[in-house]
């Protein structure tokens, strides 16, 4: 049905469509929705063109990078009064259940020289009975470790701190 554009209509601000008064057919599309769609699509691909990851516009680099079969991972150990050592959890380390966030927190602290401060903070959340906390980096053969081999190829201690009584 041909829309009579000489008749008054109702323009919708956000969508740019005009609904002619008394019309029951679809309203014609103005320039605003077309411009909005074009701008959004351009914004979505721009990070890829610029090779710049951000949020929420991203290049989605999850698992995209190269990964060697020998890697270094940060971890935190707690030692109790009997000398028993256990790995501390993500909740204790970073108050998060996300290993990505926890690993990132530890790496940031180690790289920026704030491992001692982070150690003290973690010590404040350590499980009851823990007497000291240690932040380390350990190197593993990933495939062997994932298959059950506990061997640590290399180990570096970055911070050690007591747990306050």
């Amino acid at each position: 049905m041909r829309t009579d554009t000489t008749r008054p209509g109702v323009r919708h601000r956000l969508t740019g469509t005009v609904s002619p008064v008394g019309s029951s057919g679809p309203a014609p599309v103005g320039w605003r929705p077309r411009a909005a769609v074009a701008a959004v699509l351009l914004a979505l691909v721009l990070p890829f063109v610029r090779d710049h990851d951000s949020f929420p516009l991203s290049i989605y680099p999850m698992y995209a990078g190269a990964r060697s079969d020998v890697e270094t991972l940060p971890a935190v150990f707690g030692t109790n009064e009997h000398g028993e050592v256990e790995r501390l959890s993500t909740r204790t380390i970073a108050r998060s259940d996300d290993p990505l966030i926890t690993t990132s927190l530890l790496r940031q602290a180690i790289r920026s020289g704030r491992a001692d401060a982070l150690c003290d903070e973690i010590a404040g959340r350590a499980p009851s009975g823990t007497v000291s906390v240690e932040i380390v980096e350990e190197q593993f053969d990933l495939v062997a470790s994932a298959a059950g081999d506990d061997e640590v190829l290399d180990r570096t201690v970055h911070a050690r701190c007591p747990v306050a009584e």
Partner: protein, 316 residues
């Protein structure tokens, strides 16, 4: 040659074809319901940012201008506003305000969470979809606002609300967003990992890395990871399949069986990641990410028919 016979004309015709108001309204309910539950469940990690070390703060995206973390009151206010606006967005109440408000508060809250030295990539598509739906006419029907208008005027919705381009292009734009995110993910693997990502041990090493990372952090990895990483031959075909599925995302726009096959393949991709690496992307796993590919008005009509048969709703 008329506009509709050129490629640009056909794309324009597809993008701006009329669609029923219910299609966009159902997308509002799905995206809003997911996002509100997600925020509620993740409220503690969001709120715990109030105690994070200010030295870690590294603002990104819409918060680039911040020179330090938000005051605690502002953070808690943002989270409360987001949840409240999200509920109103989902039920379509005061949508002229709640739609844009939820879109903006969700964007700010999730951007803030990604502003601590680690970008989190499982919230992007949810935020992008809510931005589109929240800023368009998503509450003209199946909403509290529509109900109030009906009760106030005692008449049916105007005929022009039944099928309009205004209800179609936001859903198709959301579909395009889904497609673009998967294609970009595939291209990222080729750009960053190169051909070795497809034929080498990179994927296997990523799976092994995820397992070892969980173990060193005192957690249990997937029981599948250990046995599978020992079978290195499995991973190059899986890597090729992954990139093919991601780059093939545009076929979902064709509809029909091709769309369904791609959606199943993409879902299996995420299910595999969850099973092998215990990394969960809830938005696609719960299928909300793929909802824009489908005629969602059928969902509304099925539910309405079901409730009518159960005599919850009056017939006719």
């Amino acid at each position: 040659m008329t506009g509709r016979t050129t490629l640009g004309g056909r794309v324009d015709g597809w993008l701006f074809a009329a669609a029923p108001a219910e299609r966009l309204a159902v997308l509002r309910i799905l995206t809003g319901g997911f996002a509100v539950v997600y925020l509620a469940v993740r409220l503690r990690p969001f709120a715990s940012l109030a105690d994070a070390d200010p030295g870690r703060f590294d603002p990104v995206g819409a918060l680039w201008f911040l020179d330090g973390p938000l005051p605690d009151g502002a953070l808690f206010g943002l989270l409360v506003a987001a949840v409240a606006a999200g509920v109103a967005y989902t039920v379509g109440a005061w949508f002229r305000i709640s739609g844009p408000l939820f879109a903006i508060t969700l964007l700010l809250a999730t951007t803030y969470r990604s502003s601590w030295g680690q970008l989190l990539h499982f919230e992007n598509l949810m935020v992008l979809h809510v931005l589109v739906v929240g800023l368009t006419r998503s509450a003209d029907v199946l909403s509290w606002d529509a109900r109030r208008r009906r009760l106030g005027t005692n008449r049916e919705p105007a005929p022009q609300q039944r099928a309009q381009p205004a209800y179609g292009w936001p859903v198709r734009l959301a579909a395009l967003m889904t497609v673009v995110t998967y294609v970009l993910a595939g291209l990222a693997k080729l750009r960053l990992g190169g051909i070795d990502w497809l034929v080498g041990d990179t994927l296997r090493n990523h799976v092994a890395y995820s397992a070892v990372r969980l173990e060193v952090l005192g957690a249990r990895p997937s029981p599948l990871a250990g046995p599978l990483v020992g079978q290195g031959w499995l991973f190059p075909p899986l890597a090729v399949l992954t990139v093919v599925v991601e780059l093939a995302a545009p076929v979902a726009l064709l509809g029909g069986r091709v769309r369904d096959v791609w959606v199943v393949a993409a879902w299996l991709l995420h299910a595999g990641i969850a099973a092998l690496m215990l990394v969960v992307f809830p938005y696609p796993l719960l299928l909300v990410a793929f909802a824009p590919f489908y005629p969602l008005e059928k969902v509304a009509r099925w539910v309405s028919g079901f409730l009518t048969r159960r005599q919850v709703l009056p017939s006719g």
